[in-house]
Structures are given as structure tokens and as C-alpha cells.
């Protein structure tokens, strides 16, 4: 794949990005309290005194959240640190009840790992993981409820997060998008984060810098809270372009935190230096260091599902799929499962083509998730069987599929009701061909003069005459015979 370059007045520029993803841990209760974590609950209905930072309250580490983070670390092929520690990140904000966030700083739970990106051209790009650490989420400030007032909802306060920090290995907006998608896919396979960016259960900060190809790393700016893959890609381009303009004007990049405005397609500074924080990290004296036993990690490892990379390779090896198709199919566990059910005892390539083609198209058009589709893998399989045994042609199958999607009826019934069964009776087809040949002497002459295109015209005429039901293979054979 060609390297991504931005063109400036002084030549080409390279973009260097590192992503920090905050992924909300799937867990019934919070990282340090027993309060519930369900999204969208009545404000302040899921808040324990611990989450509200009440006097004398103490955090209690939720072991399940630790297990989820370990599992995620394993999924990122990362080292699990047997000894890690929680620290306090101190700052004041109205939705941060304790006046500090409990996080991991010097000693994260998970160390270095790797994520492999599946690029559209089939290439695979490795991106290093710097670390994964656990921390608690803050609450939410609502500024739009009443003029001049701010309301605080603490439902999210204390919810467990995994902060996954990549190395600065990402060199294009496209890679950044692929990275977020891949990470999301891994997390969803593992069941450790639902990856829902719209609900904020996956949030992204991006560090962006530019440099001349092969040069030293430039000063970076951090883009906070960019919350869709599309915006992530746009934001990187906008920020890189801004930095290039400054540098080419002889300016310097000021290291700062910025926000991306998708309407204006530009980034702007979030806070100036006067609000620069000194977080005064120090080990949280309320929480003993986290010690992870080897055999516990081994047990977690043993319980891991097959992950996208392994599944992709298996799909290539076992089903003979292209890297691209396999990559698309494994992006979601549900897709992969659907495909495997569909491909069982059938032609895997036909299954992959139908699933990623017509079926995905219908899903997108209807805007529904796989589990809400009116056609399931058994029904789609029945359709594929009708193609395979030549009951219907691939062309007719498309119409049948549309009908299936609309009515939910089985393929066989639709073919039956509408009389769409393929004509495979040679004598019947020969009769039809004979008539068309007889009616169109000019075209016959053209074919005989070597114009192959007109042969296609004859096929079309036969299909037209049979309502598309003619077996295309037979039609071709008969035409070849009749037209010489």
C-alpha cells in the first residue's frame, strides 16, 4: 500500500499518530463499587456513596473488571504485568466527585502488545500497543438543562475503563480508522467492551504530529474525544494540515490539547497554558497493589474465544477465501458465525459472495443489525442450495432473495409460487432458440461474421423469452450449436 503523504508548499509531509482509546469495561458493576452500570438509566439512579465521593467511603477493586482487562490484554497479544498499582490523578471538576481519578500510571496492568490492521488492499499493518491500564470514569456535567446552571449525573462515575494506548505507529487517517475498527472488533469478540462509540463506551483521543518523510518526530497535539471512525479520519487530516501550514510559515507547533469540530472540519485549542494541570499522581493508599497470579491468567487464556486474526487465517486456509473477504467476514463475530453456518456443506466462495454482496447490501439498505434481519443463515442457505442444484439461476436468485427479504417467505416457496424454476429441458430451449434464430437472420449473419457481442444479444433474447428462467449454461451450449 502506498504511503500516505500530505503535499505542502515545501514538499511532502508524513503524519504520525498514536491513539488512546478509552473502552468501557463490560461489567454489571463499577470498578470500585457495586453500583450498576447500565447505559441510559435515570440520572443519578446508579450511584453508590463510593461513586459520589462521600466522606469515609473506600474503593473496592472489582475482580471481574480486572479479569476483563487481563482478557483484553491477552487479546492484544500483550504482556500481563503480574504486579500493577492504582494511583490517584488529582484535579478538580464538578463531575469528578473524589477530586481525583483512580487510574494506573507508573505500573499499568498490561504492557506492550500488537494489533494487526487489515487494510482494504489485503495488506496487514502491525501497530504496537504501548500499554493498557484500568481507571474509573467520571460523571457527566449537563450544561443545557437550565440557563446558568450545571447539572451533574454521576451514573457514569466510577464505571471501569480500559485506556489502551498505541505506539505512534499509525501513519494515515485510513490506518487510524482501521485501527479503531480492529480494536473494536477484538473487544467485541472478547466481550470486554461493546465498542459503542455513539453511547460513549468507546472514546478516542488522538496524538497527531507531522514530519518530513523519515525525519525526527514533530511536536504533537492531542485531539480529545473524537467519537466516530469517520471523524477520527477527518480530524487527523485537518490537524495535520494545520500543523503543516504553521511549520511551512516558519512557525512552531505548540503542544496542546485540541478539539475537532466536524462542522467546520477544523481543530481548535481546548485550554490554554494557564489551565495546564499538574495531576500530582501518587499511589492510591486505599488500594493495595494488584497482584495477578500466573494460573489465573492461564485460566483466562484458556477461556478466550477464537479472535479475528486467527479466524481470518482459518477462513483463508479452510474456505479458500481472499484475505479481503475473510477480513470482512471476521470483523464481527456474528458475521463470522453466520458465514460458517451458511458455508457448512456448501460452496464457501458462493456463500461468501452472497453474504458480503446481496445480504450486506440489504442489511445496509434496511439499516438493521444482523440479528434483526428477516433472512437468517438457514433461509439464505436454502436459496444457495437452489442455485447449486440448478433449480434457479444466480440471476433469478437475486429476485428471489429480494422477495425473501420483503416477505420472510422461504426461497423454495417463492420459486414454486412464482414458477421461477429454471428451464433445463433441452428440447424446450432448443425450440425457443430456433424461433429466435429464425426471426433474426441479420443478427445471425453478424454472429457468423465473428461478432461475438451479438451472441450475448441472443442470450438476452432467450432470457427475455423465458422470463429469465432459462439455464444460462444450456442456452450458451444450444446457441453455440445453432449459430455455429
Amino acid at each position: 500500500m502506498a504511503d500516505y503523504r500530505l503535499q505542502g508548499d515545501t514538499g511532502e509531509w508524513e503524519v504520525v499518530c498514536g491513539l488512546e482509546i478509552h473502552a468501557q469495561i463490560i461489567s454489571d458493576s463499577k470498578l470500585f463499587s457495586a453500583a450498576a452500570t447500565e447505559f441510559g438509566a435515570e440520572p443519578n439512579s446508579q450511584v453508590s456513596p463510593v461513586d459520589a465521593g462521600m466522606p469515609g467511603m473506600l474503593p473496592r477493586v472489582n475482580q471481574f473488571c480486572v479479569e476483563q482487562a487481563v482478557k483484553t490484554g491477552l487479546g492484544l497479544r500483550a504482556e500481563i504485568n503480574r504486579w500493577s498499582a492504582f494511583e490517584r490523578k488529582n484535579y478538580f471538576y464538578a463531575d469528578l466527585p473524589q477530586g481525583y481519578q483512580i487510574s494506573q500510571y507508573l505500573h499499568p496492568l498490561v504492557g506492550e502488545g500488537t494489533v494487526y490492521l487489515d487494510m482494504p488492499d489485503g495488506s496487514v499493518v502491525p501497530v504496537g500497543i504501548e500499554r493498557l491500564h484500568m481507571e474509573q470514569d467520571a460523571g457527566k456535567s449537563l450544561h443545557d438543562q437550565e440557563p446558568g446552571k450545571t447539572y451533574i449525573d454521576l451514573n457514569r462515575s466510577g464505571v471501569g475503563l480500559m485506556e489502551i494506548v498505541s505506539k505512534p505507529d499509525i501513519t494515515s487517517p485510513e490506518q487510524a480508522g482501521a485501527y479503531v475498527n480492529k480494536l473494536r472488533s477484538i473487544l467485541r469478540y472478547l466481550g470486554t467492551c461493546d465498542g459503542n462509540m455513539a453511547e460513549g463506551s468507546m472514546r478516542c483521543d488522538i496524538n497527531v504530529s507531522v514530519r518530513k518523510p523519515g525525519g525526527d518526530l514533530g511536536t504533537r497535539c492531542e485531539l480529545k474525544n473524537v467519537n466516530s471512525v469517520r471523524f477520527i479520519m477527518q480530524a487527523i487530516e485537518a490537524e495535520a494540515t494545520r500543523q503543516i501550514e504553521i511549520l511551512e510559515d516558519g512557525g512552531e507547533i505548540e503542544q496542546q490539547t485540541r478539539l475537532y469540530d466536524p462542522d467546520k472540519r477544523e481543530t481548535r485549542a481546548l485550554r490554554g497554558k494557564e489551565h495546564a494541570h499538574d495531576y500530582r499522581y501518587f499511589p492510591d493508599p486505599d488500594i493495595l497493589p494488584l497482584i495477578v497470579e500466573n494460573d489465573w491468567v492461564e485460566r483466562i487464556k484458556a477461556s478466550m474465544p477464537e479472535l479475528p486474526d486467527e479466524k481470518k487465517q482459518r477462513f483463508i486456509d479452510e474456505y479458500g477465501l481472499s484475505a479481503y473477504d475473510a477480513g470482512v467476514l471476521v470483523a464481527e463475530q456474528a458475521y463470522a458465525d453466520f458465514f460458517e453456518t451458511l458455508a457448512k456443506g456448501r460452496d464457501p466462495k458462493l456463500a461468501a459472495n452472497w453474504f458480503t454482496g446481496d445480504f450486506f447490501g440489504a442489511l445496509n439498505k434496511a439499516g438493521v443489525e444482523l440479528d434483526a434481519a428477516p433472512v437468517d443463515s438457514a433461509k439464505l442457505g436454502e436459496l444457495l442450495d437452489l442455485i447449486a442444484d440448478e433449480t434457479i439461476s444466480g440471476r433469478i436468485a437475486k429476485d428471489v432473495f429480494e422477495e425473501m427479504w420483503e416477505t420472510g417467505k422461504p426461497a423454495g416457496q417463492i420459486v414454486e409460487d412464482k414458477g421461477l424454476k429454471q428451464i433445463t429441458d433441452t428440447s424446450e430451449l432448443e425450440g425457443i432458440v430456433d424461433k429466435i434464430v429464425a426471426d433474426n437472420p441479420d443478427q445471425v449473419a453478424q454472429v457468423q461474421d465473428g461478432n461475438q457481442k451479438v451472441k450475448g444479444w441472443f442470450v438476452g433474447q432467450v432470457m427475455k423469452a423465458t422470463g429469465g428462467k432459462a439455464n444460462p449454461k444450456l442456452v450458451n451450449e444450444i446457441l453455440a450449436k445453432k449459430l455455429g
Binding site: 469515609g56 464538578a94 493508599p285
Partner: protein, 498 residues
């Protein structure tokens, strides 16, 4: 044991327990006498909040249980006071601070829950230095509690020590059979010494910190304060135990502390740390220390000269670590969710500033500033990190010493009670009050202060026994032997009800 006094408030907790058990006294009578004592001792400002109605209800319930033969044990029906640092459900909890104005927690601390489960009766919440920061009780927003003792021929008020000064004052004045305290750098032991009572700081992790307003989380530890070692042993039995809600609580069985009071310390090796002979130590304290050792020797213990070489660094390390943690622990007092809110100006920052400026007293502000400073970028390694290393070395000193001895004897405080206002303008002199108590706090070890004698002006002095981690039993056993030998019968100038 002396004859049981006729006035219930002048009984020891153990005597009251026995009187309840053999039916000489009902909890209702015992509690009523104490409620009156609390009222008559109001001049001491030992209590911030009195809870006579709750006391009465709890006493009646205790009597009803006893009548049905369902007594819950030695603390059932026994009236005690609670330092106002423990959160008590539906009862005002102030931490001695203006910033917690009107705060009534919807939850109960683990230690007080255990005490109520054991049948103890709550008389009220006792005064303390603001957020337990102080050694004199003078930093309380509610006015300093006074010491019931007076110097001979001098009626000027004296401090009860701190920060558990209200608990100490109440117990010394016979306005509670016992009380809870908390000790971060000496806040149980020093006031116990200055008021002529007994106080035990247990091993860090022995009593749950859940529901105790935090000062310095890695040091805070709840413990009993009472008039005798036995009373402390009984109270500790009701307070100690593992708590899943406190990640630093230790899951180790709670022994029968009273059963440890065998009086037999033959062969016990008592360490005397040479580094505790600080410059300018008053002669009478040095003599009392020697006297204490002689008492233990007479009972069959063996003195051992030991060295705790890093003692000198304990106080400075403590005054870095404790404020550092406090600066973070006190960030939650921001006016947003509970307590005081000052809404000068319109911005969030202005609300924080106004609330915290009005809500915190000078000593708290001083420590928040120190703590913020020592944790800040560029100073962290020089101060906080260095202090943590010193702390580790101090713990190692103790570990070395306990290879040679079983318990360490030292003075509790470098001086007797001082006058109200005498040290108020000299924070360093005030901090020096903690010089003998802080090392055991940094090492997380159990330490007991026992009243051992009087100074020249007739004020009580205490001796401190420091034990191995989770060896409260040895500390209590040796303490009781020393208590018997000291035969401390002097009484404060003010005794409630007399």
C-alpha cells in the same frame, strides 16, 4: 480489682459490664447516669453532638435482650462515645470542620456498626481537631475541647491533646465508659497520655477504615480509648475485624484480647530504643521511662537496649506523607455534593475557592498546601518519594529490633498537657508533640499508651508500648502489668457528676 464504685459513671467499662451481667445495674440506669454526666460536662466541649434519645433507645433494647437471655456480650448495654470522624447514619458527622456543615451520612462506619451490633450504646460524637489534624484539639471548628485536668494551683484551661481530644476528655471526665479514637500519627496515644487514660492504636489493617472520614489513608487507624487496659481490650474486641469494604483491612482472626491479660510477662524482652532519648527531654519523663522499665523488670521482663537508627527522620517523613495524602483526600470537600457551599461569583472555580476558603481552618489549609507542594511536578521525588523510602527504612528498623525484643517501651509524649493557646501559633512545636508516636504509625505497628505517673505540676504522663504487627495481645498484656504497677489513681480536677 478495687471495689465497684457506687456511681455508675465511675466504674470501669469492665466493672459496668459485670454489673450489667449480674443484674446489679440495668443499661438504662447506666446510660441515664452517663447522659447526665455528658450534660454536666458540657463545659469541656468534649462532645460536638449528644445523642441522649438514641442512647436511651439503645439501652432499652440492650436491657430487653438481656432479659430474654440474648445478651450480645461484654459491650451490650455499655455507653460509649464516638469520635466525630466516624460516619454515623442519620447523625451529624462533622470531622470538626465547618466544611461538613449539616452532613448526616446515609451510612454507618464499619467500626461503629460492629460496636452497635455488639450492643454498645451511643452517647454522642466527640470533639476533635479539624479532620484529625492537630495535637491539641484547638483546630476544631466547634471550639477546642478542654482537658479535665488542671495544673496544681492553676485553674487555666489545658488542652486534652489531639486529635482525639474530645474522646480523651470525655473518658477522663467520666462522661463515657470508653470511646473510639483514630490515630494517624499519635491521635489516640497523645491525648490518652495528656488526660491520664489508656489508648491503643491497633496495627494498621486491624480495624476497618470504611466510613471514617479520611485524613491520611495509609496511616489512619481506629482504636479504643478507655480508663484501663482491660477496658481497651474489651472495646478493641468489638471494633476489630476484617472488612471487605476496606482494601487495606487484613483478614486475620480477632483474638480474645481480654484473655491475653494474664499478668504474666516473665521472659518478655522489652526494647529500649536509644534514639528516643531526644535532646531536651524533660527529666521527669526520662525518669518515668526508667520507672516503667523497672516495673516491667520487676514482673520478670528482660530489658534490651535496641536501636531504631532512622527515628530521627520519622517526623519529617510523616509531615510529608500525611499532608500529601490529606491534600488528595480533602479534594472532595468542594461544595458540590454535601456540606458547606459558598457561591461567591458565578464560576465553578470561584465556588471551590470560596467554599474551601470558608470551610477549612488554618491548620487544614496549611497541610493541604504542604501536601499539594510535595506531590507537585519537580518536587515529588525530593519530598514524597524520599519520604516513602524513609518510611520503608523505619519499618525495617522495627523489624530488626523485633529480632531482639518482643515489645518496645518509650514515652508517649515529650510533655504533659499544655495550656490552651500556648502552642497554637507555633505549628512546628505542635508537630514535635508527635515525635514518639509517629514512628509506630509509619511502621503500622500497634502501640498503647498507659498512664504511668504525674509531672511536677500534677499532670498525667503516659508510657507507650509498641508491639509487633498484629500482636496487640502482648502490648495489652505488658500494658496491664505496667498499669498495675503504676497504680495510677490520680483523678482530674473535673469529674462529671461530682
Amino acid at each position: 480489682m478495687a471495689d465497684t464504685p457506687s456511681r455508675p459513671t465511675e466504674m470501669t467499662l469492665a466493672q459496668a459490664r459485670d454489673a450489667l451481667a449480674n443484674g446489679e445495674l440495668s443499661s438504662k440506669e447506666l446510660t441515664q447516669a452517663h447522659v447526665q454526666a455528658v450534660e454536666s460536662a458540657r463545659q469541656l466541649k468534649a462532645y460536638i453532638t449528644e445523642t441522649p434519645e438514641r442512647a436511651s433507645t439503645m439501652a432499652e433494647a440492650a436491657d430487653a435482650r438481656r432479659q430474654k437471655g440474648e445478651s450480645r456480650g461484654p459491650l451490650d448495654g455499655v455507653p460509649i462515645a464516638i469520635k466525630d470522624l466516624f460516619c454515623t447514619k442519620d447523625v451529624l458527622t462533622t470531622a470538626g470542620s465547618h466544611v461538613l456543615d449539616g452532613f448526616t451520612p446515609p451510612y454507618e462506619s464499619t467500626v461503629t456498626s460492629k460496636l452497635w451490633d455488639a450492643g454498645a450504646v451511643m452517647l454522642g460524637k466527640t470533639n476533635l481537631d479539624e479532620f484529625a489534624m492537630g495535637s491539641s484539639n484547638e483546630t476544631s471548628y466547634y471550639g477546642a475541647a478542654e482537658n479535665p485536668w488542671r495544673r496544681q494551683g492553676d485553674n487555666r484551661p489545658l488542652v486534652p491533646g489531639g486529635s482525639s481530644g474530645g474522646s480523651a476528655s470525655a473518658v477522663a471526665a467520666r462522661a463515657a465508659l470508653g470511646a473510639t479514637g483514630t490515630d494517624t500519627g499519635g491521635s489516640i496515644r497523645q491525648p490518652a497520655a495528656l488526660t491520664g487514660i489508656t489508648g491503643l492504636k491497633p496495627t494498621y489493617g486491624r480495624c476497618s477504615r470504611f466510613g471514617i472520614v479520611a485524613f491520611a489513608s495509609s496511616l489512619d487507624q481506629a482504636g479504643p480509648m478507655a480508663r484501663t487496659v482491660r477496658d481497651c481490650a474489651i472495646l478493641l474486641g468489638g471494633m476489630a475485624g476484617f472488612d471487605d469494604n476496606d482494601g487495606t483491612s487484613v483478614d486475620t482472626p480477632v483474638p480474645d484480647y481480654e484473655a491475653a491479660l494474664t499478668g504474666d510477662i516473665r521472659g518478655l524482652k522489652v526494647g529500649i530504643p536509644k534514639e528516643y532519648r531526644v535532646d531536651g527531654m524533660p527529666r521527669e519523663i526520662e525518669e518515668l521511662w526508667q520507672q516503667g522499665l523497672d516495673w516491667l523488670k520487676d514482673a520478670g521482663a528482660e530489658p534490651v537496649e535496641i536501636s531504631l537508627p532512622r527515628t530521627h527522620y520519622a517526623l519529617p517523613a510523616y509531615y510529608i506523607i500525611a499532608p500529601a495524602e490529606a491534600s488528595s483526600n480533602l479534594a472532595r470537600y468542594d461544595g458540590v455534593r454535601f456540606g458547606l457551599r459558598e457561591t461567591a461569583g458565578s464560576s465553578l472555580d470561584e465556588m471551590y475557592e470560596a467554599t474551601r476558603a470558608a470551610g477549612f481552618g488554618d491548620e487544614v489549609k496549611r497541610r493541604v498546601l504542604i501536601g499539594t507542594y510535595v506531590l507537585s511536578a519537580g518536587y515529588y521525588d525530593a519530598y514524597y518519594n524520599k519520604a516513602r523510602k524513609v518510611r520503608t527504612l523505619i519499618a525495617q528498623d522495627f523489624a530488626e529490633a523485633y529480632k531482639q525484643c518482643d515489645v518496645i517501651l518509650a514515652p508517649t509524649s515529650p510533655n504533659a498537657a499544655f495550656g490552651v493557646g500556648e502552642l497554637a501559633d507555633d505549628p512546628i512545636a505542635m508537630y514535635l508533640n508527635d515525635v514518639f508516636t509517629v514512628p509506630a504509625s509509619l511502621a503500622g505497628l500497634p502501640a498503647l499508651s498507659v498512664p504511668a505517673g504525674l509531672d511536677a505540676s500534677g499532670l498525667p504522663l503516659g508510657l507507650q508500648l509498641i508491639g509487633r504487627a498484629f500482636d496487640e495481645e502482648t502490648v495489652l498484656r505488658a500494658g496491664e502489668v505496667m498499669e498495675k504497677a503504676a497504680n495510677f489513681t490520680a483523678e482530674p480536677a473535673f469529674v462529671a457528676g461530682r
